[in-house]
Subunit: 291 residues, 2 copies
């Protein structure tokens, strides 16, 4: 057991600080940054994510624009929308909410977004810039995690860092960011084919769970005094709540927290910082238009 | 000590097989693939690398074109050469030999190369495609190492893989390739800031040394029965040879080899396969012109 209670990596509090900072920056602009979101179809989760993003814009003083298209929108028609957004000087950054309906090829869509407006950072050019250590838009979740690490002064140089999950939008880019200068961690990227996963986790000074399996990380997988960052946000049934579900992370928080030096909760950890990532990138996109 | 002598990962023999394969493919084409190389200045090592590349083209039946520019070539003038090559339909792929003189910004130059002709795979778009698991030109050295792993049927799925060195052209892309599907290794990327480097190496089923420090990997860092791949090619003084130098790898071969299941020598290991990588990418570039 840890002699001191673990520090909570409070994503809500940190996000509030960032929102204030962005709001102040925004107040100084005559023309306001504008984020557009394209939503195809009526998936419930996607709709609520997009609503949150629009609400975040409002809070910090950004303009926002929601383009809702029916489920049966053709790929050609969506590409036309993208072309329009690429040309629209009043839109500084935009996202196409994923996943898209199955008849639309996501890679084709993402590649059509003007990289200077691709505030999700999903375009291959941004992935390449990230890999080569050059400026570009970092996807929102890895950005948020790095911002959290920075804020809480978590030492990364030479630290043993285990990341579980190699998705293109979280684990993979995070593994590159944390093993590159200036973070300089020693990163092991773990995934479904890894053997000795527990042993790798037990060696980690910083353990990051981004695999999307609720409660996967248990106390026996965590080194005493480690920092644990939980990226999981799975909706699990909970009929004690009116909406019928709650978010559950990849870490068994109750069991794991007492062993850690610091830990991010779910909800209220990485999630709020992911939302800041999008605002941050939108502000950066705006600045490239108004340098 | 190993009961069986280690298998030699013979880059020369494998490169000869590949050359034959590419030569046969090339013989079937009326118009031949053409690789151009731009060499700025008169650095001795760069000149000999470029000469090797031109010679390789000749051997497999490719056309080649060497564009030599003086050391004091301006960046604008080099960019014009690149623009000409981008437009030149007779050139299917080209490289700009690095390093460039200090008054020229390499990133600007590389970003100006048409990605469809960037057979070095250095353009950020190729780095991004590699990171996202999409088709693109893989830099020659990581390509050659993966080809070697494939040829010798070295199991990678779930294997513990330690890579020493995180350069943009070797360690970093290799770490992505080997930890992605279909290789599915558990990769730890080690570098100058890593602590416990020896412990990580000792756990590795596959140890890849790409840091450029001759003899860095010693026998006490290698697990009995591991596969060791040596990417180092440092020129060290050797006055017993007329030219005054020889190539030395990052691995102390004599001492390490007896502990390994398989090991690549220097010279004659990764080096020849790196040269095949360029031919392979040129052939692929040609096919995009003549699908």
């Amino acid at each position: 057991m840890s002699s001191n209670p673990p520090k909570l990596l409070d994503g809500n509090a940190l996000a509030a600080l960032w929102k204030q900072k962005i709001k102040v920056a925004c107040a100084a602009f005559d023309q306001k940054p504008c984020l557009a979101a394209v939503l195809v179809g009526s998936d419930g989760a996607s709709q609520s994510y997009v609503q949150f993003k629009m609400k975040d814009c409002q809070e910090v003083g950004f303009q926002s624009k929601l383009i809702q298209l029916p489920e049966n929108t053709s790929q050609a028609s969506l590409l036309q929308t993208i072309e329009d957004l690429n040309k629209d000087a009043s839109v500084h950054g935009y996202i196409v909410q994923l996943p898209l309906p199955k008849h639309i090829d996501e890679q084709t869509i993402v590649a059509a977004i003007d990289p200077t407006k691709d505030v999700d950072g999903f375009h291959p050019l941004h992935a390449g810039r990230l890999m080569l250590g050059r400026p570009g838009f970092v996807p929102a979740t890895p950005w948020g995690i790095v911002a959290m690490i920075d804020h809480y002064n978590i030492p990364t140089e030479g630290a043993e860092i285990a990341i579980i999950g190699r998705s293109h939008i979280v684990g993979r880019p995070l593994s590159v960011l944390l093993s590159s200068s200036p973070k300089n961690g020693t990163v092991t990227l773990l995934h479904s084919k890894s053997k000795n996963l527990k042993e790798h986790c037990l060696r980690a000074d910083i353990l990051i769970a981004a695999l999307g399996k609720p409660g996967f990380v248990t106390a026996d997988m965590v080194k005493q005094g480690a920092v644990v960052i939980d990226v999981g946000t799975t909706r699990v049934q909970d009929h004690s709540i009116a909406r019928g579900w709650r978010l559950k992370g990849d870490v068994d928080f109750e069991q794991v927290a007492p062993k850690t030096k610091a830990i991010s909760p779910v909800p209220g950890g990485v999630g709020p910082m992911t939302r800041i990532g999008l605002l941050h990138n939108t502000l950066e996109a705006y600045k490239t238009f108004n340098p």
